[in-house]
């Protein structure tokens, strides 16, 4: 028997087997093919006809299926029963329920942040543009307190000119507009939710960008939150689960750490003077980031709450760092809520 030349049928049998096991580890696949080939060669040597040998082996796809079962490889696509796949996929209905709940959570948060941002911008914040103009001309528009315009816009007790002072009722309208937009995804039919949410995110992002040198920068957290309301439910629908996705947790953890890391780099380069408060901030942000990456569920809500607190503090205590505090707070709020929005209901509980 000539074993140098492999019969055509055997070659194609082995090729089918190899293709069906394409995703098996290369070493295991090589051993499988060597085994089957040796079996066929030996049988041919004993004088058995090739067709009988291949028939006794069984169809190549059945043999490969048995290999998959025995070696714990995942079932081939389209075949029922996958073996050895570690985590059971969520049923689509659960993913839908989680995505829906997450979307509503993030949209509610968007409304709240939009209202707060509007109030902040209209009533509390010095009107940047107007202020710089008036300091430029050296006189104030209102001058109601007698102090006039000072180069220190945040001096306590100074009558600060706000957008409301400037524009009156128009300011309220301006302030409420993003809030109304944010409300739309919650009140419109569900089929319109995602397109409207995307439109909102784009509009608010543009607003933040166009008026970036005046009040726009304060709308950045709202824009981020609105993007989160678009992206997070969509990813959840496609299988994102923080409990099993280490990569996303690390990504989120790094984002949570970022303010702390910035402070560290500031300390190193000397732009920030060391204080125990700074050190505490660094430690808190790093601990929160690490806990986030480790997937400790309660920390998500804690980060969101701390973010909200930071935003409120930034509002109340106007100062040089107001914008930075506002942004960090907004980022933590968006990250924390996004993480909460991906959470599956605990075992036994059913999502509404």
């Amino acid at each position: 028997m000539n074993t140098e030349r492999t019969p055509q049928e055997l070659t194609s049998y082995l090729r089918t087997l190899e293709a069906a096991l394409a995703d098996a580890p290369a070493e295991a696949r090589a051993e499988i093919l060597a085994d089957v080939r040796a079996h066929a060669d030996d049988a041919l040597e004993q004088g058995r006809p090739l067709t009988e040998v291949l028939e006794a082996l069984g169809p190549a796809d059945e043999v490969s299926e048995q290999y998959r079962r025995e070696l714990g490889l995942a079932g081939e696509p389209g075949r029922p029963g996958s073996f050895g796949s570690g985590i059971a996929q969520d049923p689509a209905s659960l993913r839908e329920a989680v995505a829906d709940r997450g979307a509503r959570l993030l949209h509610f948060a968007s409304v709240a942040v939009a209202v707060v941002t509007g109030a902040f911008v209209a009533f509390l914040l010095p009107a940047f543009a107007v202020h710089s103009m008036s300091t430029g001309s050296g006189s104030t528009g209102s001058g109601s307190t007698g102090f006039g315009s000072s180069t220190e816009p945040v001096d306590m007790g100074t009558r600060i000119q706000t957008l409301f002072d400037q524009l009156g009722a128009g300011a309220i309208l301006l302030a409420l507009l993003p809030a109304l937009l944010a409300l739309l995804p919650l009140v419109l039919p569900r089929s319109l939710r995602q397109p409207v949410a995307i439109a909102n995110a784009v509009v608010v992002s543009l607003l933040a960008l166009i008026s970036g040198f005046t009040v726009g920068l304060f709308y950045v957290p709202l824009a981020v939150l609105m993007w989160a309301a678009v992206v997070v439910p969509w990813r959840v629908l496609h299988g994102l689960d923080l409990a099993t996705s280490l990569l996303w947790r690390i990504f989120g953890g790094v984002l949570v750490c970022a303010p702390g890391l910035l402070l560290v780099s500031g300390l190193i380069t000397g732009t920030i003077v060391f204080s125990w408060g700074t050190l505490a901030l660094v430690l808190v942000s790093v601990v929160l980031g690490v806990l986030f990456a480790l997937g400790w569920r309660p920390v998500y809500a804690v980060i969101a709450l701390l973010g909200m607190t930071a935003m409120v503090l930034g509002m109340v205590d106007l100062g040089l760092l107001t914008l930075a505090v506002w942004w960090v707070g907004g980022a933590w709020l968006a990250i924390g809520l996004s993480a909460v929005a991906t959470l599956r209901p605990r075992r036994g509980a059913v999502a509404p």
């Binding site: 074993t3 040796a38 079996h39 049988a43 082996l57 069984g58 059945e62 070696l71």
Partner: protein, 144 residues
């Protein structure tokens, strides 16, 4: 006259039924039969396949190799290449210590199981008529 359950002629139905029972039973013991054969001496693939088929322990030679692959992964058997006289080298399968202890465990379980089943079927000490008992039932089903 056709079987209601498997849509084959009566005789074939009996064969199919017998084959199904045999397939199900063999599934669980094939691995240990391989270990038992290897505990006597090292063997290469075709040798194992031939003996298993001769003994009626497997219907498909193709299912032997996936099984061997798993047993190898589990450490019950190991392989080595050996030049076989004149031709190309052969891959021999040998039982490991782990495989031997598995085989001992199986032997104990099998002895108990076989004794119980024999006793229930009445082919053991009591002697009896349990096996033919099953057939009239199938015939009745066949007619109904």
């Amino acid at each position: 006259m056709h079987c209601n359950t498997c849509i084959t002629r009566y005789g074939e139905c009996m064969d199919a039924g017998r084959e199904r029972i045999a397939t199900n039973l063999r599934k669980g013991v094939l691995e240990y039969c391989v270990l038992a054969m290897l505990s006597r001496r090292e063997m290469y693939g075709l040798e194992l396949a031939n003996e298993l088929v001769e003994r009626g322990l497997t219907a498909s030679e193709g299912s032997l190799y996936p099984l061997l692959a798993r047993m190898r992964e589990a450490g019950a058997v190991e392989t080595r290449w050996e030049a076989s006289g004149e031709g190309r080298p052969r891959r021999y399968y040998a039982i490991t210590d782990g495989g031997r202890s598995q085989l001992r465990l199986f032997a104990g379980v099998w002895a108990g199981l076989a004794a119980q089943v024999d006793q229930l079927l009445g082919t053991g000490d009591a002697g009896g008529r349990a096996v033919p008992e099953i057939e009239p039932e199938m015939k009745a089903e066949d007619q109904g």
